[in-house]
Subunit: 426 residues, 2 copies
């Protein structure tokens, strides 16, 4: 399939929270204590809350930078593309990249909102979490119906309150809950504890997907303090197999058959090996460990319950039928350094060369729409939703690769990315 | 290829040390303090050394048991097949399984001999480590020339002494050093520290392979204290990708081009995804992280320097050319629960159905012989080395599946494994 003919719905992108997230959304008594953006003496913008300072507002928001300048910066809003934090600019960037739909994970609260959960005043924590969800659903996603898959933050410290929040969000069309890879490493009861049962029930009842982003366990994959950073970059996504194994063998999977889980930014090429490993583990050991999936093999359970995704994984494409063609979705990872925005469509077209169109459609949008109960075509006709159609609508939007090190938006290094994209398909 | 026509050299098996390992091998002043087997009041045999009691002499030596009885036992010699600790019985079991050659990792000292290294008296630690290596090379391997790939224990606390021991062992034909996945987690300098340079140089000079067994980091893959044990069983082998990444990005790989590494019991199906991941990491990030392999891609370096292995990995077989057909070897894992002994050959034949004979030969013995400088045919002609020929020589050797829970060797449950094997090839 040509890149222009694809329809792209990304199940993993990131937003950088703008300073006004909580404006007008907190009860008067919490306004003073609510999260705020502060500019430091060094010129960084940081979020502050509950005595914590979150020094890197963008995590790794390098979209549009030359690769020489990748790193753990930027740390100020004007060092980022406005598409990181401004939803109108974001939609323009999505159009320029040909991306129809996007699910945006949070940045400064942590993937599971643990910054908010850490507040001693649980009324404050609850007000802030709800305000964040209101902003995300009403303002970020609500500004462009059909362009964003809404996603809620959990309430880690009270599973009943969390379940209620899942139901409140589902009632307004939100069918994704961002969660941690491992609550135990964050100091909460593990996946195996009955503590979470109200949440699993609420997710099952409302058809809400538990979206587990890599790196959300609070533990980095660091082999040694003096290891090169490349080791951590390589291993971080592979770490998510721990969450997959943890949940797959848990009683949760058996007792909540409606619960579905997405391994966000987890890649796919490792899945067939993992499925073979779990089936072999079951065959060799279930007689003494007592595992029982009602006559099914663990790999069958995985395919019923887990959604995977990739940016452009040639091994995953080759093994797509060993993974499950209904279990693979696409992600863009805007604005992080693993993303190939704005030419992600061309990268994907190259990696999926020779794959039948119906299978590509499953990967690029159909699986994402089904799992997340997302219907973009209720808002934009399908023929206007393709990469080619969206880009035509975005003509003139500047997606130059820009250097941020030598000043503000001054140094133009790359060629125009839409030109790049056109060359790649030619 | 029929199972009978295969030649099998296993790069990962385990021996359980018999009580007489150190007999006559320690200087008189260390005999009293040397490691000893003691029978506990509960009827377990335990090794004792330096104030430590190693409660599980067999780790998981369940060969020949019915699967209902798998577990972390056995804990006494008579609960194991004698092939676990008696080299003559071991060779009979190898013959019955059709296995020509075997590399046997240690049990009670730990994969990297850390039990010995923990002794405060470093003269004692050195004497014990050397005595162990002498016993392993002279008595275990020496009893049956051409049947065992010899393997030395390292000296963790002194890299110069370790280098000397590598050279001493290489001079008597030992070209494998068992080592830890991660010295940093054991409290020693990491792979990135220059501390180890004398060892890397000795390994390079002598053509000795650094054999890194999964589970040798001293850290188990435990997600939570209340997680089912199946989670750990699933994840433990996948953990070895951490060692692969740690070494691949290290200065060691760049500065010691002769150093070769085996990922023992690490499986193979995950390797193509890993190679894609490291190449992508390199492409996206090397301009700011400074990685440089002299113009080569990290995946090329991996294929030059790393040997992988599998028991029977259908995903690895399918992806063998994405891994590297010269980088895959076979392992039996006798006597642990992942092993399919005595019908491992039949399992392998099923998994490699349709693979050309020359590629099967690389996987089953040629790669292992080349990497480990092992020449079994100097001792036994090739036509007598096949699975079929070895089994014919072992006719009458009893490999029944036996229950150990209800008494000593009493309850016969399974059918004769050689019959099983014959049925599988028929």
């Amino acid at each position: 399939m040509n890149a222009d003919d694809m329809i792209l719905v990304s199940v993993d992108d990131h937003l950088v929270e703008p300073p006004d997230v909580f404006e007008g959304r907190l009860p008067a008594r919490f306004v003073e204590a609510g999260p705020k953006v502060v500019r430091t003496d060094e010129g960084s913008d940081v979020w502050t809350f509950n005595g914590s300072v979150i020094p890197n507002i963008g995590l790794n928001a390098v979209a549009g930078r030359p690769r020489e300048e990748y790193g753990v910066e930027p740390t100020a809003f004007e060092e980022m593309r406005p598409g990181c934090y401004d939803v109108h600019e974001r939609v323009r960037d999505m159009n320029a990249g040909g991306v129809l739909g996007s699910m945006c994970f949070p940045s400064f609260p942590g993937f599971s909102g643990r910054l908010f959960a850490a507040a001693q005043d649980k009324d404050l924590a609850l007000a802030v979490t709800r305000a964040y969800n209101d902003w995300h659903i009403e303002e970020w996603c609500g500004a462009y119906p059909g362009r964003f898959i809404p996603m809620g933050l959990p309430i880690l410290w009270d599973a009943e309150l969390c379940a209620a929040e899942v139901r409140r969000n589902a009632a307004r069309g939100c069918h994704s809950l961002t969660f941690t890879e491992n609550p135990a490493t964050l100091g909460y009861p593990s996946f195996h504890d009955t503590y979470w049962d109200p949440v699993w029930k609420a997710l099952s009842d409302t058809g809400t997907v538990l979206s587990i982003h890599l790196g959300s366990s609070g533990k980095l994959s660091v082999t040694a303090s003096d290891a090169p950073i490349d080791v951590m970059i390589t291993l971080q996504p592979m770490n998510i197999c721990q969450a997959a194994a943890d949940l797959l063998w848990s009683r949760v999977i058996k007792e909540f058959p409606g619960l579905r889980i997405a391994l966000s930014e987890g890649g796919t090429g490792w899945i067939p090996y993992f499925l073979d490993r779990i089936d072999r583990t079951y065959e060799m050991h279930h007689l003494w460990t007592g595992q029982n999936f009602g006559g099914k093999m663990p790999s069958e359970i995985f395919r019923e319950r887990f959604l995977t995704c990739f940016i452009a994984d040639p091994v995953g494409v080759k093994l797509r039928h060993d993974i499950g063609i209904d279990n693979i979705s696409w992600e863009c990872d805007y604005p992080h350094s693993d993303s190939s925005w704005p030419s992600a469509a061309e990268e994907l077209a190259a990696v999926t060369a020779g794959v039948p169109d119906d299978e590509i459609n499953k990967i690029t949008f159909e699986n994402a729409c089904r799992w997340y109960s997302f219907d973009p075509f209720a808002h934009l006709p399908r023929e206007k939703s393709t990469v080619g159609a969206l880009r035509a609508a975005a003509a003139g939007h500047d997606v130059s690769v820009r250097s941020f090190d030598q000043g503000r938006f001054e140094k133009q290094i790359g060629v125009h990315a839409l030109d790049l994209a056109r060359n790649a398909t030619a």
